[in-house]
C-alpha cells in the first residue's frame, strides 16, 4: 500500500531545521522531553539493535514510548476521532519505529521522524475505515462517545454532538496534507516550522495548507449551520 508521505527508511527530502533548532527543555504542557534527549535515546536503541542486544534495546525503547505516547495518542485521537483506533494506530507506529530503527537518521529529531510515521499509520487506518464504512452505511462507527456530560440539557448535548460530527466529517474531507498540517498544528501543538520537518515540506507550504484547511472547515461548518 502506498502512503502519502515517504515512510520510514527514506529520510527527509526537503531542507529540514537542524537539530540545534529544536526547542530546549521539557515542554510543560505535554511532559514531552527535549528532542535532544529522545533523539539520543533513539540512537541508543539503534546501537543496541545493531549490536543484537535486543533485551536492552526494548528496555530503552520503553522509555521512548513513555516519552511520546501521550502526545502521539492525542494526535491519533484527533486524526481518527476514535479512542480504540487511535490506540491501535499509536501501537502500530511504535512497533513500526522499532522494526525500522536502523533507518533512523540520528542527526535528525526523533520526534519529527516518529510523528511522520504516526501520521502515515493514521492515514492508512482512516482509508481502511472509510472503505469499511462504505460497506456499512448507516452505522455510526466514528465516535467513541465523547466526554460530554449527560447531565447537561439534552439539546446542548445533541447540538454539541452534531457539531463535532460535522467537524469530524469536514476534517475527513480535507486533502491529506491539509488535514495532517491542521491536525498537527491545531491538536498536536506543533508550530508550522515543526510540521514542515515532519511532513517534509517547506514551512511556507505548511502555512498555505493551514490556511486552506481552515477556510474549507469554515465553509463546511457554515453549510452545516445553514442547513439547520
Amino acid at each position: 500500500m502506498t502512503t502519502p508521505y515517504p515512510l520510514v527508511g527514506t529520510g527527509f527530502q526537503e531542507p529540514r531545521p537542524p537539530l540545534a533548532a529544536a526547542p530546549a527543555g521539557v515542554r510543560p504542557e505535554t511532559g514531552v522531553a527535549t528532542d535532544q534527549h529522545d533523539s539520543w535515546l533513539a540512537a541508543e536503541v539503534q546501537r543496541l539493535v545493531r549490536a543484537s542486544e535486543l533485551a536492552k534495546a526494548r528496555e530503552r525503547f520503553g522509555e521512548l514510548v513513555t516519552l511520546h505516547q501521550r502526545r502521539a495518542s492525542r494526535i491519533a485521537h484527533a486524526y481518527l476521532r476514535n479512542g480504540a483506533d487511535a490506540d491501535d494506530a499509536v501501537q502500530d507506529a511504535f512497533v513500526r519505529v522499532f522494526t525500522h530503527i536502523n533507518s533512523y537518521d540520528a542527526e535528525r529529531p526523533f520526534a519529527s521522524w516518529f510523528t511522520r510515521i504516526l501520521i502515515n499509520v493514521c492515514v492508512d487506518r482512516q482509508r481502511a475505515r472509510q472503505r469499511r464504512q462504505h460497506s456499512l452505511v448507516g452505522l455510526d462507527l466514528s465516535r467513541d462517545g465523547g466526554s460530554t456530560s449527560r447531565s447537561e440539557w439534552p439539546d446542548a448535548h445533541v447540538w454539541r454532538r452534531q457539531w463535532t460530527d460535522a467537524l469530524t466529517s469536514a476534517l475527513s474531507d480535507l486533502p491529506e496534507r491539509q488535514r495532517a498540517a491542521f491536525v498537527l498544528c491545531h491538536y498536536g501543538d506543533r508550530t508550522p516550522a515543526e510540521v514542515s520537518a515532519i511532513l517534509g515540506v517547506r514551512e511556507s507550504t505548511v502555512r498555505v495548507h493551514l490556511f486552506r484547511a481552515v477556510h474549507r472547515l469554515r465553509a463546511a461548518l457554515q453549510e452545516w449551520r445553514d442547513a439547520r
Binding site: 526494548r58 522499532f98 465523547g146 457539531w163 498544528c185 508550530t191 508550522p192 481552515v214 477556510h215
Partner: protein
C-alpha cells in the same frame, strides 16, 4: 495607493497557529485592532472550543492506566511481532515462504501414511487376483472320494459317450456333405 493597515487572513491564521511567530508588527497590530481581532475570531470561530473538547476527549480516553497498557502491549509486540498472513494468489506466484519444507515429524507421518496406503492397495490386489484359482484348487482337492466329484465325472462320461456315438453315426453324412473350401 493606500496600504491596508489591517492584517490579511493569512497573517491572522499565522498568529493563531504560531503565537511565537516573529512578525512583531502583526502581533502588535492584532493586540490593538479590535476589527482584526474580530476577524480572527470569525475565521477561527469554534476551533478553540473544538480544541478544548478534543483534548478533553483524548485525555479522557487515554487514562494513565490505558497508556501503561498501551506501553506494555507495544513492548510485547516487539518480543513477538505479529506476522502478516500470506495468502498465495495465484499459486504460481506463491512467495518463498510457501515453499518452506515440512518439518521432520510431518514428513515422517506423511511417509508412513503413504507406505500403509501402498501396502493396503497391494494386499487388496492380491486378494482379488488370487480368489478364482484358489476356488478351482479347492474343487480339485475334493478328491475321488467326494460325492460331488464322482457325480460330475459320471455325468461327463455319459455325455462323452453320447457325443462319440453320435459322431460315429454321422460320419457317412459328413462324408457326402460338401464343405466350404474343399
Amino acid at each position: 495607493m493606500p496600504v491596508d493597515p489591517h492584517l490579511s487572513d493569512e497573517q491572522l491564521l499565522d498568529r493563531y497557529f504560531d503565537a511565537s511567530d516573529s512578525d512583531e508588527r502583526a502581533a502588535v497590530h492584532l493586540f490593538r485592532c479590535s476589527a482584526c481581532a474580530d476577524r480572527l475570531q470569525a475565521i477561527t470561530g469554534g476551533l478553540e472550543e473544538d480544541y478544548a473538547r478534543e483534548r478533553t476527549a483524548a485525555d479522557g480516553y487515554f487514562t494513565a492506566a490505558r497508556l501503561e497498557a498501551q506501553r506494555v502491549r507495544v513492548l510485547d509486540r516487539l518480543v513477538q511481532p505479529r506476522e502478516a498472513r500470506v495468502i498465495a494468489f495465484p499459486a504460481a506466484h506463491a512467495p518463498a515462504a510457501a515453499h518452506v519444507p515440512l518439518r521432520r515429524p510431518s514428513r515422517l507421518a506423511a511417509s508412513a501414511a503413504a507406505l500403509l496406503l501402498f501396502a493396503g492397495g497391494f494386499t487388496g490386489w492380491r486378494l482379488v487376483h488370487d480368489h478364482q484359482p484358489r476356488v478351482e484348487q479347492t474343487d480339485a482337492r475334493l478328491g475321488p472320494g467326494s460325492h460331488r466329484a464322482a457325480d460330475e465325472r459320471l455325468l461327463s462320461e455319459v455325455e462323452g459317450s453320447l457325443v462319440n456315438s453320435q459322431i460315429a453315426a454321422l460320419q457317412p453324412l459328413d462324408a457326402i456333405t460338401p464343405m466350404e473350401g474343399r
